[in-house]
């Protein structure tokens, strides 16, 4: 097996996912198969090759720092699952 169930659970936790117990074996198998296929990249000689993260030649994208209308607070909050007094409400983060 290219990737174990435990490794999938570890990575899922990093990605803040709580993978369904029923799905975990299936996922490990499928992701393992994909990773085995991806390993064919090892056969490519990439000595000294510069990696590409962006296919178009563009460097810094500057613009004038003009004042512009932005989304107002009511609109920004319009899709919030929970809100109060102009704030997003989340479960308590720090326990006293």
């Amino acid at each position: 097996m290219k990737i174990t169930k435990e490794e999938v659970l570890y990575v899922a936790n990093l990605a803040r996912l709580d993978v369904d117990k029923v799905l975990i074996d299936k996922f490990a198998g499928q992701i393992g198969t994909i990773l085995e296929y991806v390993d064919t990249l090892k056969s490519v000689d990439t000595q000294g090759v510069t990696p590409t993260s962006h296919a178009i030649f563009l460097t810094n994208a500057f613009r004038e720092d003009d004042e512009k209308q932005s989304v107002d607070s009511d609109s920004a909050l319009s899709n919030a699952p929970k809100k109060e007094d102009g704030n997003f409400i989340v479960p308590k983060v720090i326990n006293s």
Binding site: D18, L23, I31, T33, V38, I56, L58, N79, P81
Partner: protein, 486 residues
């Protein structure tokens, strides 16, 4: 001819001559949707009231003599481009009730022209898929054979055009998501050069690969839509400040001096269906007969493109999709007491299996200890793929190839076999890795009557050459005029 069967160009001419009104045209399209949507399932959200209101405004403008190429034309928008006040779900439970407070730049451009937005088209969740089977909302069926997939991820957009449920549409393409469904549904689709069309307001999947483009009934309509959506946008720092030519000026009758290239590695691709191979070969001969030169070219790293892509795209996705945390918008599991439990439960319930699989794959590729072997290596192979295209375009103007190795497959056939599904993207995803433009146009039918597409690719910002070759081919054939029986 029924009004809903019109192309953008013909509808525009009739609107201009005041032989039809936008309200008549929009009603005809809405009636068509009423008649066939239960079989095709192309739309996630329809807003007929709003569409008719937009049509009424368009008619008023036209009566005053103000008509632009898209004024009063009913269009479908893939459900991952933000439409102010109109639900944008990305075909995901996590965004099921998301109503954007702003328009994507492309949507704003369509609205400025006075186009009519009929509704939001179905897709694979977060554009991850080649069949639309990964939509969390509904299934879309191929109008040519309802037991088959329409392709993906812009399957709803392609099916809506093929079934005359809109006059034209917009999709997005990260690894073939416009070209492959266009091919499977027998319509025209273009993925423009990376940076040609603004991505502002497009829900991000893989930011270095995503690009918005048109799906239309013919090549002329594709050029007309490209004229409107292309151009620099200061809201998208990756959009390129290059002048936009009038793409309709490339629709002329001459292929002399044009050289097409045939990649030798593509014909050796595993699993290439004989009907597809035959149709593409025939198309190449036809283009040669019209005066174009033809050379064999080599893209030696083709066999590694799928592997590189399925490291890079999920890596970027795992980072982009981190924003769905149940805090600012979208679904939240409200039963969880701690913040961490809320995050995890929200994301696991909100995302479907394919999205979770890709997030895990991407997170793994980027994680400590694996970064160099996976993401780093794939990014180097990406450079080699770009070099391949640079070399190939030294001896040709346009590269011709199949779009997909097979015609549309049966619904359910590959749903539990992600790797096989990924491998079917072999011909299309290199264009995204290299950022070059690609196009699919109808070039034949399989023995079962399923549409087959021809792919054309050109250098960065040379969409004009794609329009020239595709227009000439279209003039000499009638594949694009055939309609599915619904």
């Amino acid at each position: 001819m029924k009004l809903y069967e019109l192309t953008i160009k013909k509808a525009h001419m009739l609107l201009k001559k005041k032989e039809i009104s936008s309200q008549e045209l929009t009603r005809a399209v809405l009636d068509r949707i009423d008649a066939v949507e239960e079989h095709v399932g192309a739309y996630i959200t329809l807003d007929s009231e709003m569409a008719l209101a937009q049509a009424k405004i368009a008619d008023k403008e036209i009566s005053r003599g103000n008509i632009l190429p898209l004024t009063g034309i009913p269009l479908a928008i893939k459900d991952l481009m933000c439409t102010k006040g109109l639900r944008t779900t990305c075909a995901s439970r996590i965004l099921e009730n998301f109503v954007p407070p702003y328009d994507a730049t492309v949507v704003k451009k369509l609205k400025t022209q006075g186009a009519v937005i009929v509704g939001k088209a179905n897709m694979d969740e977060f554009a991850m898929g080649s069949s639309n089977e990964h939509s969390a909302i509904k299934l879309t069926h191929n109008p040519w054979d309802l037991t088959r997939i329409p392709g993906g991820s812009s399957g709803g957009s392609a099916a809506a055009v093929a079934a005359d449920m809109c006059i034209g549409s917009l999709g997005s393409d990260t690894g073939g998501s416009i070209r492959q469904p266009a091919s499977h549904c027998g319509v025209v689709g273009m993925k423009p050069t990376y940076g040609r069309v603004s991505r502002f307001g497009l829900v991000a999947f893989a930011s270095s690969l995503d690009q918005i483009g048109p799906l239309t009934k013919d090549v002329t309509d594709c050029a007309m839509l490209m004229n409107v959506i292309s151009g620099y946008d200061s809201a998208d720092s990756t959009s390129v400040p290059e002048d936009v030519p009038d793409y309709t000026s490339f629709l002329e009758d001459d292929l002399k001096g044009m050289v097409v290239g045939i990649p030798k590695e593509y014909s050796a691709a595993k699993g290439l269906d004989p009907d597809v191979s035959h149709a593409v070969k025939h198309a190449v001969e036809k283009i040669q007969a019209m005066g174009a030169g033809c050379v064999e070219v080599s893209l030696p790293h083709t066999e590694h493109a799928v592997a590189a892509y399925y490291v890079i795209a999920p890596s970027e996705a795992s980072s982009n999709l981190a924003r769905y945390d149940g805090v600012k918008y979208g679904y939240r599991d409200k039963n969880k007491k701690s913040l961490m439990e809320m995050y995890k439960s929200t994301r696991s319930r909100g995302f479907g299996p394919e999205v979770q699989r890709r997030i895990i794959l991407g997170t793994y590729s980027l994680s400590a200890g694996y970064y160099d072997a996976y993401y780093g290596k794939a990014s180097q192979v990406r450079t080699l793929i770009i070099e391949d295209f640079k070399n190939a375009f030294e001896s040709c103007d346009v590269i011709l190839s199949p779009v997909a190795p097979t015609p549309a497959f049966k619904i359910g056939e590959m749903v539990d076999d992600p790797l096989t599904m990924y491998l079917s993207d072999v011909f299309t995803l290199s264009a995204n890795l290299a950022g070059i433009p690609g196009m699919s146009i109808p070039c034949g039918f399989s023995s079962k009557g399923l549409p087959i597409g021809l792919q054309m690719m050109a250098k960065h910002f040379e969409e004009g050459k794609l329009f020239k070759v595709s227009y000439n081919f279209e003039q000499a054939t009638d594949f694009h005029k055939k309609k599915p029986n619904l």
